[in-house]
Every structure is written in C-alpha cells, then in structure tokens.
Symmetry: D2
Subunit: 147 residues, 4 copies
C-alpha cells in the first residue's frame, strides 16, 4: 500500500464524519480509521428497519459506501477531498443481527481515482455473517481541501 | 410492458412501504405507484445531510434502490415478494435542492429476475438536476408472499 | 446534450476504431457515429460463439463497452482522449440472432467523467430482442490526444 | 467454502470451456480449475489489441467474466448449469504485458445465486500488475444440465 500522504489523516476523517448528520440520524459510528481502511458500526434499532424487521438495504448501502469512501480519504493529501463516483453492491443476506459492521478498504489507490471494496457483516450472538459486498470508485479532488 | 399480475399492486406496495421505518426516519414518501414505475420524494432537511449541506449520497442511494425495487414489486403476483440482488449507482452531481425525487422503473421484467433503472433528481428553484443513475437486479420470490 | 467540441468527431472515432485489432478479430463494424451516440454491429459467426451456439457474453460485453466508450469520445475535444473507468452490465437474454447491434449513448457528459449507457440487441428474423444493458463511467484525459 | 457437489467438476468445466469458440478465437486457455477458483491465461498477440497496442478492455472483460463464471460452475451439482446475471468491472491499468492472467473465485456461494470476484493481471518481465477488478452475480439453473 502507498505511503502516508497526510500524517493527520485519522483526525481529518473523523472531523468529516462528525459533520455528517445522516450518519448521526442512523446512529452510525466510526470506531476504526487506519491507513487505507475504516470500520463503521451501526446498532440495530427500530428506526433503521425495513418491513421484515431487518436493517434496511439502503442503510446497509449507506454504511458500506461511507466506510469505503473514508478508507480512500485516509490516503489522499490534506489538500485534497474525495467524491464517490459510483459503487456496485450485492446484498447477499438479510441484515439480521444486533449490530452491523461495515469494513471499507482501498484496493487500488491511484492519483485521480481510487478503487475500494466494502463488506458489511451482521453480528448475531457473537457470529459475523456477510450481508453485502461492494466495489466502489472514488475521485480525488486535488487542491480542493474539505472545509 | 407485461400485463398486470395483481390488480391490487398499488395497495400492496404502499402497505410494504408504510412498514419501512427507515423510510419514515429519513422522511421519504411514495406519492406515485404505477405499473412498472414508482416515485419516492424526500424533503431536504438537516437530518439527511452530509458534511457540505447536500443530501448524503447514501440517502440518495436508499431512495433510488427503494423506488426501483418497488417498481419491480408492482409487476409480480400477490403471492410473490421481491429482493434486491444488487445495484450499481453513479452519483453524477451533488444532491443540492429543496427536495429529491427518485424515479424507479422496470426495464426488463423476467419471471425470476427483474432489471430496473432508477434516477434521482434534485429540485431547486423549480428546476430538476440529475444527481444519480442506477441499474439494479431484483429477484422474485414466487410463493413467498410479503407478510 | 452539450454542444459539439470537435466538428471532426466522427472521423476521429472511426480512425480509432479502425486501429482496434480486437474489433476486427470479432468482425465488428461501426456503421453509426453521431454526436453522443454510436452503433456497433456484429454478425453472428462461429468464432464468437459460446458452448450453446449463442454469441459469447464476453463478446456482447466487448461491443457494448466499445459502443458506449466511442459515444463518449464523440463529445470530447480533439485534444483529449477517453478511458473506460468501469462498467456494469446485465445480461438479460441469450444473444440469439443473425446479428447483434450495440447502441451506446452518453447520458451525462461531464468535463472529467462521462456517464454512458449501452444496450445490445439480437436481431432474429427481423425482430430485435434486448440481450444486455450496461451503465459505464468514462474518464476524459484532457491534453492527451489519441495518437 | 462449501462442500464439493460434483467430484467431476473440473472435467465438466474443461469440457464446457473447450466448446467456447470465442475463447479459442482470442487464444485463451484454462490451466487452473479448482473448487471455487479458476485461472484463464491469455497470450498477448496482435489480434486482441486495441489502438495503443495494449490488450483490448473488452478482451480483459471476457476473460474475467469467464474465469469467475467457471469458478461458480465448479461449485454446482452436475445436474445444474450457470448463467452470468451481471458483472461490474473496474479497469485500473492498461493491459500491458506478454500475457494476462484472469483469476476468478467464488466469494459467496448461494443455492440460486453465487457472487464471485475476478481479477486480471498483466505479466511483464515476470512482474504482475493488476489491470481489472470485477464483481459478478451468477445464477444457478438447477435441473438444467449443460449439454
């Protein structure tokens, strides 16, 4: 994996995450921020459910997209910001558990485009089940620092 | 487009939507349900924002995925339910507006798999701007009526 | 759709296509080049078949990807070239016919990224059947003229 | 990974591959067939080139799609066949090398749907470079043995 472009990447990522009211709305947290990798955790609570009592697929998508996008953000200079160009997600099992963990990681860091992968696991009785698998393209906006 | 399999499709779809607490959480509504086509509307309010004050890309994804999935549901028999297998979404502009409209439509109805497309528009000062474009695969679960 | 950046776009696109030996290998032609839209035609011949005698899904993908990529190329300045960043394709029916037509079109032209769609139809006894549906992201390389 | 459903999976997969004239056309071979995993190799020769002398992105797609589809086929019963529902591919570097290796593997084997991943590497001067990354959905057709 590439060298670290910004030694303060974790602080920069946490500050950005804290400003996302949508993450607060669904009660998502960002407990892990490493170089090229993040984790978003989501408790299962009624507000994020779909009609069968599982976590809504759209919410699963939100945390996968965000975890992988923030993984990309850990690898860009402090003077750059990142944008999601697109992502593709397979929902492979119902999100059935007490909490969800979305793991995002960079698989191909380029100067302008970064390719990432995301996985979402449901944790039930201490066991992880894969719920969703995502492949994503992130664009790096050089010289457009995130305010 | 295929013939109508269930004359009460709109009622069935609205009942399912009403049970999705996640749609209520983000304040999404489902004002349009036609055969092979639905619309989800979302007011722009602080709870759904990302760090720059636009609607969060994950929320854009939630309404695109749901609008297209419900478009598929309008075309299946009352005795069947639908599942999102996967989707791919391009985010082409910031979701900047007073409200968002997600339009989902069936492009290829099969017996087991239905391919749909979704578009999300931001409405600002009465003008629509395309924000997101999605292509999705839905699986039909025959004999598994939605409870 | 955007204004024309290069009045000689069709010539530029045809010259590029003529240099692709892989298109010649499968016997694909490019009979339609309009602003924001192209068509690639492929005769059904034994060399492009899969094990059941239909055209191979990978060959269907090749012509969809190329038709849409060249649609993007019609909209960039003569001083720029284009690259496929990624695409997503649904194969919705076997490619069963005497010939295939791949239609590519630009759906969202941006300065750096262009989003396109592609459709592939099989022509059998004069009737068109949709075989594949694609959504694609193209990157514009400004100042990197195609040699 | 799941148990083996058909002890003769490798023979079944090789027989199917041998019938694909399109694989012969591009000179692809299938030297590795393991349970849940295959490799397709492609020599770089003029017939598969694009306009810059690299291997055509569509050909890269063909071998990624096929390697992953055959990985899925290794895991289904002898009485079933497989179909590509859809795939999404990021092209991350030009396919520049003496040969390409496409590696397909099953990441989530389901009864009806199998999710796979594919990677394509270019080999140049003994060094592997990642060119393409794919996520794919395969459908299992039970009771429809491949002829």
């Amino acid at each position: 994996m590439n060298r670290i472009s910004d030694p303060h990447f974790a602080e920069r990522v946490r500050t950005s995450f804290a400003k996302q009211q949508a993450m607060d709305l669904i009660r998502a947290t960002l407990p892990v921020v490493e170089h090229g990798r993040t984790e978003i955790h989501l408790p299962h609570w009624p507000g994020v459910e779909q009609q069968h009592g599982f976590v809504h697929g759209g919410v699963v998508g939100m945390i996968a997209d965000s975890a992988a996008g923030y993984a990309a953000m850990t690898m860009v200079p402090a003077s750059a910001s990142v944008l999601t160009v697109e992502y593709k997600m397979n929902l492979v099992a119902p999100a059935d558990g007490e909490m969800l963990i979305a793991r995002g990681q960079v698989v191909r860091p380029g100067r302008t485009l970064i390719v990432t992968q995301g996985e979402v696991f449901a944790i039930k009785d201490g066991k992880e089940t894969l719920c969703a698998l995502m492949q994503q393209t992130i664009m790096v906006m050089h010289g457009k620092e995130e305010k």
